[in-house]
């Protein structure tokens, strides 16, 4: 079943169009990666799905419902979680409060969700009273993911989760994303670290100048001579 179905999407910021007729699907529980050069509009596609850009045309269906034009708080409640690339925690609030904010749209903070996130990221439980701003970069990234998982989304949008992490933490981050996906959450990932992302994912899209260039399984894209030469540095 198709979870997310983006068809012929046009979007951008204000008058500036960045995405030009992009098609993209994420199946139920599927792990999809978007790669491409800087300025290709990878993050913009993701933001468009979350209602943070100017919608200019095409359709965005989630679980069969058209969600283009929805406000972010409505999109969250349909079951999409979003982790922005940077500034993705509330620095002066505690780890616990950051997670609580993830469940803002609920009347009660679901304790069992917090427990599950602490199981997934034990370091967060250890630091739950500390301010998020005092965590390391990797820990902040975990907290941001934890926050987005508070509502148990069907689809998690991750914008360059490995950006700014020390090399030994990058593999760890990819492992964690694998585990989130193994538990049945669909993942749409934008990554600079294209080779590793394609190795891990089910399918990948190569975006260039706001348009689809290639799409295939991750392994097939990695094997493709042209893709390797143009986008993966040989």
């Amino acid at each position: 079943m198709t979870l997310l179905d983006v068809a012929n999407l046009d979007s951008g910021y204000g008058d500036l169009q960045i995405i030009n007729g992009v098609d993209m699907q994420v199946g139920d529980g599927e792990y999809v990666t978007i790669v491409g050069p800087n300025g290709a509009g990878k993050s913009t596609v993701m933001k468009s799905v979350f209602g943070l850009t100017t919608y200019m045309g095409g359709s965005i269906e989630f679980k069969g419902t058209e969600i283009s034009g929805y406000r972010p708080e409505e999109i969250i409640s349909t079951g999409i979680g979003y982790v922005p690339q940077s500034d993705n925690v509330f620095p002066s609030m505690s780890v616990m409060e950051n997670l609580e904010m993830g469940a803002y749209i609920l009347d009660e903070v679901p304790q069992e969700r917090i427990d599950r996130i602490f199981d997934r990221f034990p370091i967060l439980e250890e630091r739950r009273q500390q301010n998020a701003g005092d965590l390391s970069g990797g820990q902040q990234q975990m907290l941001a993911m934890g926050r987005a998982l508070m509502l148990d989304p069907d689809l998690l949008l991750l914008d360059e989760p490995s950006a700014g992490l020390a090399p030994d933490l990058v593999q760890d981050m990819f492992d964690r994303i694998d585990r989130i996906n193994d538990d049945g959450t669909g993942v749409l990932l934008v990554e600079q670290n294209a080779k590793e992302a394609l190795r891990r994912c089910n399918r990948g899209y190569v975006l260039v100048q706001g348009q689809n260039r290639y799409e295939d399984t991750g392994d097939a894209l990695l094997a493709d001579e042209q893709v390797r030469k143009d986008f993966l540095g040989g």
Partner: protein
């Protein structure tokens, strides 16, 4: 960045070796070392001043009770500055502009509240017009005749305070709807300039209704121990409100969403926090506190004038900036420092110069810590 380094290189090339070494020297004398010197200077000055206070106490140059009185006044001033400062700081961090009309919200509360208090407490003593306009004309009924003080007419004083908050909230929400809401995405500078316009418009609007006559308002209340009843009322109410705000921010969902929005507006939006509702809550709390602050200042000082809030605004900004602009707890710390400085400096300075000392201290601290005392540590 690149342009700067390019021109820098150009200078070095044209100036040859000499300018090279000159810039090396400049780099060694970096701003941090300058700030360190200022910091050391401030610390040294503080130590000297404290030692001087001890010397004066021992030699009898200043009476022990006099010092306590200055400290008490400092606390009193800190409390009403703090009431206004938290609101200013909240609008800064959540709406992201420095609101110059905040001072005139204080004045709005002062007039609105005392109009209500006069109406309730002075009913039948004078015409309704004279009461509602809080003795706009000289002659007529005198403050002593109306007899408003906390012991004689607690109900009127209480109702006045509630109305002071309510009227200011309504005015602030109306102004937000008319002006600031249309400018949400315009950036801090445009909104700041608009707020200066709002400040003037609001003040002269009040002046048209209430006139610009400075007049006495309250009757004298008997002292409570060493304190006057009205300054004690001010300190207790302000303290209670600040504790209430602290509990709201730390314990309630609304308070946490306000802190979240102050921390990171974009992320708050992504998390599903209804940002416009939080902005409304910010105006309600900030304006209510400002209005009550104005009302309580009049209760303490005994008189009201149209420039009340405007004259206070600079001290409030000093407190907010000193604590780290945008930080609510910083605003409290800043208020305490400003209030204490203005009053304790009376030991050395004539009262005209006391405020100057507060601003000099502010400048010195900013040179030392440009983000304010709690700036960058805790945003809310």
């Amino acid at each position: 960045m690149s342009r700067e380094s390019l021109t820098g290189m150009g200078e070095n090339i044209s100036g040859g070796r000499i300018s090279d070494s000159a810039s090396a020297v400049r780099n060694r004398l970096s701003p941090t070392s300058g700030a360190d010197i200022v910091g050391l200077f401030v610390a040294l000055l503080m130590v000297l001043l404290v030692l001087d206070i001890v010397r004066r106490l021992v030699t009898g140059g200043i009476a022990y009770t006099k010092l306590l009185e200055y400290l008490w006044w400092g606390l009193r001033d800190a409390m009403y500055i703090a009431l206004a400062a938290v609101g200013l700081s909240m609008t800064y961090s959540i709406l992201q502009f420095a609101n110059f009309s905040h001072g005139d919200l204080i004045t709005t509360g002062a007039f609105g509240g005392w109009a209500a208090a006069y109406l309730v407490g002075g009913w039948g003593l004078a015409s309704v017009g004279e009461l509602v306009l809080v003795r706009a004309t000289s002659g007529g009924v005198s403050p002593g005749q109306v007899g408003l003080q906390v012991f004689a007419s607690p109900l009127a004083i209480l109702i006045g305070m509630v109305v002071a908050g309510a009227v200011t909230v309504l005015v602030a929400l109306a102004i937000d709807r008319l002006v600031y809401k249309r400018m949400r995405d315009q950036g801090g500078i445009s909104m700041l300039i608009a707020s200066v316009g709002v400040a003037l418009a609001l003040r002269y609007f009040l002046a048209v209704i209430f006139t610009n006559r400075k007049r006495g308002v309250t009757a004298t209340a008997p002292d409570v121990g060493p304190f006057t009843a009205h300054e004690l009322t001010l300190v207790i109410i302000a303290f209670a409100l600040i504790v209430g705000l602290h509990l709201l921010l730390q314990r309630t969902k609304l308070g946490k969403s306000m802190r979240a929005m102050a921390d990171n507006k974009d992320l708050a939006l992504i998390t599903g926090i209804p940002t416009e509702r939080v902005i409304t809550a910010t105006w309600i709390i900030g304006a209510a506190f400002a209005g009550i602050s104005g009302y309580l200042i009049v209760l303490d000082r005994g008189s009201v004038s149209i420039n009340l809030g405007w004259f206070l605004l600079l001290l409030i900004f000093a407190a907010v900036i000193l604590g780290g602009i945008g930080s609510i707890y910083g605003a409290l710390v800043g208020s305490l420092i400003i209030g204490m400085t203005v009053n304790v400096s009376l030991i050395w300075l004539p009262s005209d110069l006391a405020k100057v000392s507060a601003f000099i201290l502010m400048i010195l601290i900013l040179v030392f810590k440009p983000n304010g005392l709690l700036g960058g540590v805790e945003t809310t």
